[in-house]
Symmetry: C2
Subunit: 233 residues, 2 copies
Amino acid sequence: MTTPARGLHARVLQALGPAITAGDYPPGSVLRTDELAQSFEVSRSVMREAVRVLESMHLVESRRRVGVTVRPTAEWNVYDPQVIRWRLAGRDRARQLRSLTVLRSAVEPVAAGLAARNAGPEQCAELTECALGMVATSRGHQLEGYLVHDVAFHRVILAASGNEMFARLGDVVAEVLTGRTQHQVMFEDPDPEAVTLHVRVAEAVREGDARRAEELTREITVGALHELDVLAP
Amino acid sequence: MTTPARGLHARVLQALGPAITAGDYPPGSVLRTDELAQSFEVSRSVMREAVRVLESMHLVESRRRVGVTVRPTAEWNVYDPQVIRWRLAGRDRARQLRSLTVLRSAVEPVAAGLAARNAGPEQCAELTECALGMVATSRGHQLEGYLVHDVAFHRVILAASGNEMFARLGDVVAEVLTGRTQHQVMFEDPDPEAVTLHVRVAEAVREGDARRAEELTREITVGALHELDVLAP
DNA sequence: GTGACACAAACATCTGACTTTTTATTCCGG
DNA sequence: CCGGAATAAAAAGTCAGATGTTTGTGTCAC
């Protein structure tokens, strides 16, 4: 699914990042680069690069004479897809999924409305194809196949909105959908009503009906929220 | 305004980052670490750390035998506050401001609605204080003072929503508001109607009227969009 | 108690050697 | 002429060690 860790420093990150986001090193904890380098059996240079990346994600702060301190959760760059992935794999996955789904419920309807105005024929076709794919895989425990089409569908909507910030939420939504499938926060088969809604959104976008696209997408995201309340209370 | 560059690698970043986001090195360009290190007069270690950070922002990709390639704009982590700041300082500030403002128009109304349900007395007080501060500085070319209260206001709303993802957009909104003030994409005095709307949002939140808070905030963001159309066509 | 000062801890930087991966080129057999 | 295998080279990746720099802390004189 994710690239299998190119480079030593990336492997260190894939161990350290999840540990920090999971709370193994609670905010305020102090790490020493040298010790970390030893425990991971890498050179200081490599460890320093890893720390720099964590620092750019605002997960830690490196200060002379003090060490590398873990920053308060409220300061983390939680829009970094990497951070999202780490957190979805960790403990408070439920809380994380909920706040992300609320974000989706704010953004995706507006994006769908814009998509209805801006989508080109190409994108409309893609959208229809995705929706059909979802229908085809909506029964018989084909969650992986369904996921692929679902992710693609929402990616196309966000991209077709013509707004760069929306488009870049494609990764975030992908993480959410993947996360809830992989971690069994999902029924065995997707909600048939949700599938229908996707098909109708594709229609609305094709017809350029912004208001309907927005409203239908709102129903999808509201449904996702409810589903979350049922499955991850 | 921003921290004045702690460490050598940060200083390199503050030069390279804006250069890349401004398009001085268009996507596909290949940089060599050694050359960069020489031209910035730093050691390779420092340059490597800087590159690693750029890589974590998905601005570049580093591959053996090839070099450091600038990635397509569509892949950048545009939610990284650092990246936002760099881009707002660069060329297509107008386009950037617009897409960020559209994002605000999707998120902030929903956040305000949630804030009306979740805000504690403390936050309500803060909100009122911010609104009053905005009123006080809304006349007589006090744009800097106004900005402070405006930023604080929206931060409180986003934080009071109780949703972590919304809360973390506080930095993004701050960048937008600061950006449009600093770069003269703003009238000499703020729109009086906008000021009034902020006061009324504070009221609505205090009274727990979610629907009204949402609707009023929508008016604020729609106004911001219109203002943008007028001032940065 | 307080302020100046010295010490030490941890990160920060530099350097040079060595390794590894990947790409391009060359060379050979068909 | 072509295709594939051997080869060379380029650039990032890794490491180890020396040295600089900031800063928290404790001490000592007053």
